[in-house]
Amino acid sequence: MAYKQYILVCGGTACESNQGIALFAALKKAVEENGLVNDVQVVRTGCLGFCEKGPIVKILPQDTFYVEVKPEDAEVIVKEHLVKGRVVSRLLYDKNQSKRNVGIEGIDFYQKQFRIVLRNCGVIDPDKIDEYIARDGYKALEKALFEMKPRDVIDEISKSGLRGRGGAGFPTGKKWEFAAVQPAGQKYMVCNADEGDPGAYMDRSTLEGDPHSILEAMTIAGYAIGADTGFIYIRAEYPLAIQRLETAIKQAREYGLLGKNILGSDFSFDIEIRLGAGAFVCGEETALLASIEGNRGMPSPRPPFPAVKGLWGRPTVINNVETLANIPVILLKGNLWFSKIGTASSKGTKVFALTGKINNSGLIEVPMGTTLREIIFDIGGGIRDGKAFKAAQTGGPSGGMIPPQFLDTPIDYENLSKIGSIMGSGGLIVMDEDDCIPDVTKFYLDFTVDESCGKCAPCRIGGRKLLNYLARICNGEGALEDIDQMLAISEAMSRASLCGLGQTASNPVQSSLRYFMDEYKEHIVDKKCRAGKCKNLLSYNINTEKCVGCTACARVCPVNAIAGERKQPHVIDAAKCIKCGQCFEVCKFNAVNRS
């Protein structure tokens, strides 16, 4: 039965946790009450990306894009839009949009984006295999099984130039080839969905919005390397993604797309889910394998590489979620189509979780080679509250801070590494003038020290030493010699650590020292924190000329450090003050000075 109209409701985590579930129910109810069940279908899709303005509702075929929709708006959407055909302009992104321009084409956030990985996110109902199939789903698998030899599949992927999206950018085709040339026998295909980078949720959204694309890609990879078993290693913190994968696996088995003799061919492949348990180091290949084997997730030296000796000693390919999501598209559209997108060394697109001090937080996909300026200012809508841009961090705790002078650098693997950062998995955190560079660096080090497995000394001891120096600097107890020590330790860690975690843990330190040395020196020499974050370096006092004696500060002070009569200027007792800043926030007359 074909419907006349469709209401797509974003089922991404941000929208769902923002009353999106109630909204979905309210829309269904309103459609029923208005007698439209035969004409209108309400669909819960994957993430539409524009998390900042959620929950998002899209009406097809008109392509109307409604933002910040509340459950109580359901009635008016159905009565006005669906019944009378009148757009509800107060729910549009731009309330003054003309009637002809009500879709995403009027929204800057979606311009410059190009969707390969997220092609189905926000378009199909992730719980329905038929909707995936209707959009050419499993067609690439069929093509691989019946028109291509495993060798051809690997060639196609190699020629496309696809590189691993988990962070390091190793060529995917080459990885597959290493495993394929190993003697036949038990081999494994593993999907790394242990997205542990704080501030990143690309893989989560892909799995929640389009789970079948990952199953299809894993099956194709299994065919190419000669594996009959696949594991998806996914964070236990992502229950919705796990649930959608479980549903998808069950459906694929029912349709003969997983299991014995797939689509009647002589190729058999099945997939199991294995849960992670909150260890960042398990994103590292060898640690991930140890975890699937049921052990502590400690990395081991490479070589031997997993493609030669991996899970239970057998050849194993490990690909990240985003890498895999590209595979079916490459097989269907061909390597030439794919390799035309991007830069000379980095092909295709990259998904970023754009967050931090930015107007439009959300999930975006752009061609490789897009500049940071385009991402932050065109797509992201610039910095919040008109503040100044200070730095962007790619690669999370393993990446580096990118200062304003590189805003126009085209983003690809090589360029990012040249300027001291890494591509990483796709977290892109924007910092403004209110963020203190040594403080944010300390945050990252705190993370990596906590997550270090402790197996090798450079990471275990070096990370702790770096963190101590950073804590001293933020407390106003740092010395200039500390900087030399930090540089030496950073160098040792990146050269001598056993795995990727330790080798990259000092990147935030190295890059921030390289570009923001003046801020470190201010903390050490002038004992000042220009962002006002490092409490020990701050002092508060009241400007007696501006103070009108409203007593707001005295009432809010948690330690009673502010004294003064009503309508008389107040005074802060510096000895009692704990520098919490509440008086500064509450004063309506700008009478509290922070320096």
């Binding site: 946790s17 704080p198 990143a200 049921g294 963020d435």
Partner: protein, 164 residues
Amino acid sequence: MNTAEKPAAGLLKLTPELKAFIAEWKSKPGNLIMVLHRVQQNFGYIPREVAFEVADLLDIPLAKIYGVITFYNFFKLKKPGRNQIQVCMGTACYLKGGEDIIQELEGILGVGLNTVTPDGEFSVEAVRCVGCCGLAPVMVLNGEVFGKVKTEDLRGIIAKTKRG
């Protein structure tokens, strides 16, 4: 294993469902983490006496089980509060004031991180990115996500949870 260390009867025990789950997974390699997840789902944490039972049923040394539990952040050794609060300390939430949320909660509940209030009602923990960075700062209360939380909202949220 030293049987003398086994806890006395009357303590928490594996339910028949959990035993069936373990039987189903016993022959699969790498089963331990999946079994521990299921145990924690049931009890809210991994009670010591249950860990003994798991060791017996899977035929794995207790030391290995504790090695795994203590390696991973997700597994808990202590019983959490009836209402569990997780405050996200991912980078986006950190930049947007996740620390202030924790401080305010500590003030309201009168306990520090990873401690249960004396009445057993609440426990607060700081967690890694929950993947809702667009909503930062984020906290999760009994599985429900609260986005763009403000410190002044917290008293109301806690009071409502107590009544409910």
